[in-house]
Amino acid sequence: MQESSVNEVKFLELEKKVKRENWKRMWFRFRRSKLSMVGLSIILILLLMAVFAEYIAPYPSHAGLHIAFKNAYRPPSFEHILGTDMYGRDVFSRIIFGFRYAFMMIGLVLSLVTPTGVILGLIAGYYRGTFIETVIVRLSDIFISLPPLVLALSIASILEPNIFNAMMAVSLMWWPWYVKLTYSMTVSIRNEPFILAAESQGASTLHILFRELLPIQLGTILTKVTLDAGWVILIGAAISFVGLGAQPPTPDLGTMVSEYSKYLPEYWWMSLGPAASIVLIILAFNLLGDGIRDVFAGE
């Protein structure tokens, strides 16, 4: 075993430097667009609020089952900036805890759906023209052909209605879109000479899939993930709204809109906060997605 030579160390440092510069370049391209910076800032602030909800919320105990009828139906004021609900709970505090559930939903769904869909899509595209491709593509076609919300609703209604099962249902209808995306991109670059070159030199299938095919698609996949994050919230809210998702007293944004909308229009402040928060999250993720797309499109 020989020690790494002096040159080798020098080159390693050079490589690190080049990679750092590449990150800097990407950050610069992202920063150029004000709107994507706004999106990123909103998401970071909401994320911090979600993580430190106990410390930020003025009335942390109001997140769950808390009843104080003497405080009920208060309009926005200095003590309760978004008013109180029918049990006297502070709406603003509940929204902050609602962000926690929102980010949990995004994390859970996308961490299931993205790897599954991307890996299956890569495999299907790489093994184009074989049995493997047929199975994967047909299977995802079947899931795509079912109306997504109906599928999610029926699954959520068979299982016990709670936030976890709702998310499982959403994941089940979501993965085929990632298969479609990566499959079509893989097919279009599958026979490019650089893939043939790697194959003809004896590169393993794993190398071809994850080191040659995947890096080219990463930008597009990441953009879709960001844009989808907003959709997860929306679908989750829809499922909660019809009562098949999170159950009261969980401070889920969709559940809150569903509960509070019964008190419209007199007690408008109750639903205004949660509804506006849903809009805010979706908007922020869309702005961020545009920024990420620009970063990769510039290459």
Binding site: N7, E8, E15, L196, A197, A198, Q201, G202, E212
Partner: protein, 320 residues
């Protein structure tokens, strides 16, 4: 089989099924390549020369025929079924370096891939080796940490050459390797190819339509037309006394700059028409539809091999 032959191709056929019918891209091609030589395979677009190279690489399996490499390997097996040592020993340099290098990988990653696969070198020496290879093809080590889009066309192609050299092959297919480059980088790449061939005793199969390149670096030439080889000769004879009317036509269509060039150029045959479709190739000699000397027999039967002398073979009824 003789010992000095590295690659023996006999009666190679490759057909493709398309919507228009069966394309006979390669239709019965036989030739030998000797150790250390550069054999040029010349033809117009659609002649099947690139397909021939790709079948040898294993990108497609042949429909018929035999390809024997170094007397012991059967190359009619597709790439995936070939032993790893063949994937080390046979390399290819593609036409367009813009598509043959992965845009998302650093030059260092591109060149070190074959080193890592074939364990040519200790892992901790990878950078040194990559720098050495880059220098060997005439690039500085700074190119290591660049992405392909940061390089010029000629530089990219030199990176592709370095990648092909990395696993220490003995046979390289040059698939139109210089035709996508501008003239000055073409010269640089060609000089590098000639230099490394001499120093490493490499064997080249040069696939090209550029007769200037052929004259500069190859020892023997084969001319291909619609999936068949019509003339085979040492380079000097090929340019001095071309026998087949198609060869004469090709050579007389080279544009010349000086009067001296004009004088040595064969005369008399104007290029007429275009290469017919490979779906319905003409009967007999496939060139007869464009040949000014065509006889009745040309459209009926395949021309025989006419051996003019030890190295010069022409397939034409005119010399019967």
């Amino acid at each position: 089989m003789q010992d000095d032959i590295i690659l023996n191709v006999s009666d190679l056929k490759k057909y493709f099924n398309t919507a228009e019918g069966v394309v006979r891209a390669v239709d019965g091609v036989s030739f030998n390549i000797r150790y250390g030589e550069t054999l040029a395979l010349v033809g117009e677009s659609g002649s099947g020369k690139t397909t021939t190279g790709h079948v040898i690489m294993g990108f497609y399996s042949p429909d018929d025929g035999k390809i024997i490499y170094k007397n012991r390997y059967d190359l009619s097996a597709p790439m995936k079924k070939r032993p790893l040592e063949l994937k080390r020993d046979i390399q290819i340099v593609f036409q367009d370096p813009g598509t043959s290098l992965n845009p998302k990988r650093l030059v260092k990653d591109i060149i070190s891939l074959p080193l890592l696969i074939h364990k040519t070198i200790d892992k901790r020496r990878i950078y040194d080796k990559v720098a050495e290879l880059l220098e060997y093809v005439g690039l500085s080590e700074e190119f290591m940490f660049k992405y392909p889009h940061e390089l010029g066309g000629g530089e990219k192609q030199l990176v592709a050459v370095a990648r092909a050299l990395a696993p220490q092959p003995s046979f390289i297919i040059l698939d139109e390797s210089t035709s996508a480059l501008d003239v000055s980088s073409q010269a640089k790449v060609l000089n590098t190819l000639v230099k490394i061939q001499k120093e490493l005793q490499l064997t080249y199969l040069l696939i090209t339509h550029d007769l200037g390149v052929v004259r500069n670096i190859s020892q023997r030439v084969m001319i291909m037309y619609l999936g068949k080889i019509y003339e085979e000769a040492p380079t000097e004879k090929f340019f001095k006394s071309p026998m087949h009317p198609y060869t004469q036509m090709l050579l007389s269509s080279i544009p010349t700059l000086s009067e001296e060039d004009e004088k040595i150029k064969p005369k008399g045959i104007e290029s007429i028409g275009e290469i017919p479709s490979a779906v319905k190739p003409p009967n007999g000699c496939r060139f007869h539809t464009r040949c000014p000397f065509a006889k009745p027999v040309c459209s009926q039967r395949d021309p025989p091999d006419i051996v003019l002398d030890s190295n010069h073979i022409v397939r034409c009824w005119l010399y019967e």
